[in-house]
Symmetry: C2
Subunit: 357 residues, 2 copies
């Protein structure tokens, strides 16, 4: 049933086929397109819409600018016991990162802990997707990534010098779904500023700065100027730098505050760590995780109607809804995807028949 503003719901399989078809239209081979589509669609299912199919227009722009390639040669550059360095070949980050998930899982089950660094990559979707895969395989996963666009202002400064550098951590549970933290190191995600802009509302103090260093309350200006306040101030600034160190300095990728790049040619770096709790402590980790989550959810709530949650709860609830009822598609985004499909010679699969309910 169409939503009043033209929003429909699209079943997962059609959504994934559409994303994959556009990626093939942009030049990817079938396997590369399927890997990228899987990661983008996983974000769409969890409600991390800013890191899903929404990225396709930017992916198109970066490929057409010649900065990103749809046919990367991805290869293991260095390999030493529990650490591996992957060269992403200048393509998007999903394929080298899924390769990193496989390698990190295999090595962590051997050595107890393993780390994979990736350089010469690009946008990799939502960090949480990779660590969730590790947690579903019984491992603790940590993922960080640098981001091409300087947007975080170092504390006491007036210029953006770091991306919104995300950190994700997931851990396996015995009874429930994994603990799943996936956060940017800015106070507010860019997606939330966009929502305020769409709603025509000012953003709170503490999210962004004006070029003079005062609180920026206008969401449109905040998006244009990209002068975001790090999470909670100087601590978030430190965390954003820590992410840059793990993602880009450790892999030898471009450093956001130091290296200038052309459109799409971002040489993004990622970091992935896997730990096998069974090799560290023997059994019992997953049960402890459940005990901890139970104790947190039992916290006396401020609002009796809003129980205290644990990281991942909102995303899993969204995923359950979208698996059952489809992924929301606005008329505006449908039109945008239709034009994009036309431009790259891909079929358009979302025009109604069998779509929405």
């Amino acid at each position: 049933m169409p939503h009043p503003d033209g929003e429909r719901r699209v079943p997962l399989d059609i959504w994934r086929r559409q994303v994959g078809a556009i990626l093939v239209g942009l030049g990817h081979d079938d396997e590369g397109a399927a890997t990228i589509a899987d990661v983008l669609v996983a974000a769409d299912l969890m409600g991390i819409d800013s890191h899903g199919a929404n990225m396709l227009p930017l992916y198109e722009r970066w490929i057409r600018a010649g900065g990103a390639t749809a046919r990367p040669e991805i290869r293991v550059e260095r390999d030493h016991k529990a650490v591996v360095l992957i060269d992403g070949g200048g393509g998007f980050g999903q394929a080298p990162s899924m390769m990193a998930v496989r390698i990190a899982a295999e090595r962590a089950r051997d050595f107890g802990v393993a780390a994979v660094a990736i350089r010469n990559s690009n946008h990799y979707g939502a960090a949480g997707v990779y660590v969730r895969r590790l947690a579903e395989a019984g491992l603790i996963g940590i993922s960080t990534s640098s981001v091409w666009r300087p947007a975080i202002v170092p504390t006491g400064g007036l210029e953006p010098k770091l991306g919104t550098n995300p950190i994700a951590l997931a851990a396996p549970s015995a009874r429930g779904r994994p603990f799943l933290l996936d956060m940017a190191t800015s106070t507010a995600a860019i997606g939330k500023i966009r929502l305020a802009e769409q709603a025509g509302e000012p953003i709170p103090e503490g999210w962004a700065l004006t070029p003079e260093g005062r609180p920026q309350r206008d969401p449109a200006a905040a998006l244009r100027e990209a002068l975001l306040v790090p999470l909670g101030g100087y601590k978030g600034y430190g965390l954003a730098v820590a992410v840059e160190i793990l993602s880009s300095a450790l892999s030898g990728a471009a450093l956001t505050p130091a290296d200038v790049r052309g459109e799409g040619a971002y040489d993004v770096g990622h970091f992935l760590l896997a730990l096998d709790p069974a090799l560290v402590r023997g059994g019992g980790f997953e049960d402890d995780l459940d005990r901890m989550a139970d104790a947190l959810r039992a916290t006396r709530p401020l609002d009796p109607e809003s129980p205290v949650l644990v990281a991942g709860d909102p995303q899993y609830a969204c995923e359950d809804d979208r698996l059952a009822n489809g992924i929301p598609l606005t008329a505006g985004f449908a039109a945008l995807l239709q034009e994009l499909a036309a431009r790259c010679g891909a079929p358009f699969l979302l025009d109604g028949e069998g779509v929405g309910h």
Copy 2:
């Protein structure tokens, strides 16, 4: 020269001997006391006063209560390739953590990455001290710890369920001193609330809550009630849980939100990770770290008199001052240490002669 409020400066060697003598007086053997003293004094030098000699009265209380032991049997409980589990034997966390630094460094140079989990431990001083040692040895270090006292309120809740769970990360530099981040996952450190109390000033909104969930502006009430807001809201809540997972669920230590303990018997867990950048990427890491730090410090500042800093800069500046001029000692803290020394039969070394200048 005495400070107007009775503050003197004490040279490092006397300060360290005094801390060590009190720890011996509390029952530690010479080696155990020296290890704990080294870590506490390292925090005092860097200006992390809340995690230095200031802890001694609490250490005394926990030992006298029978919850902490001064003669722990510290042993490697499990050992598998790149991961090791240490049992801290119910003593303070410094000795097992310095053992973890040695093991993690040795294993990281072999496997590329190594992790050490510690359980059955207690307060371990400042997290930054351990990762700084790793960075000075050419490695990236990450340290986390759970904290015995519930103080962070999960977002949407009215009760504290997590400690101020710190995260520290250090990385080696070619030209300068290591990048050194050491932060609690609460918005404000407890030490900053104490400073506001001493100054008789209200604390800003966003640091602590009243029992009804409104902003708590009274620092004395904030310290008494321990209802701290996580760093930047729900992201800091997620980070504090991530620290609890790495520190306590991974090691099998007590879980702050779930396990009730007697005074001093806290079964605290710690986590230490070491990465060898030379094995991950070959050379160049340290130079990249310098390039990044230079670019960050070159950020156009809000106040031309206050250049933009990088994590660790304020601590190193403080250390330089205190190495040259001594560690500040107020008359009040001197009296407190004198009483503590008398109670445990330790010599008091800070009563003037050769002290202060």
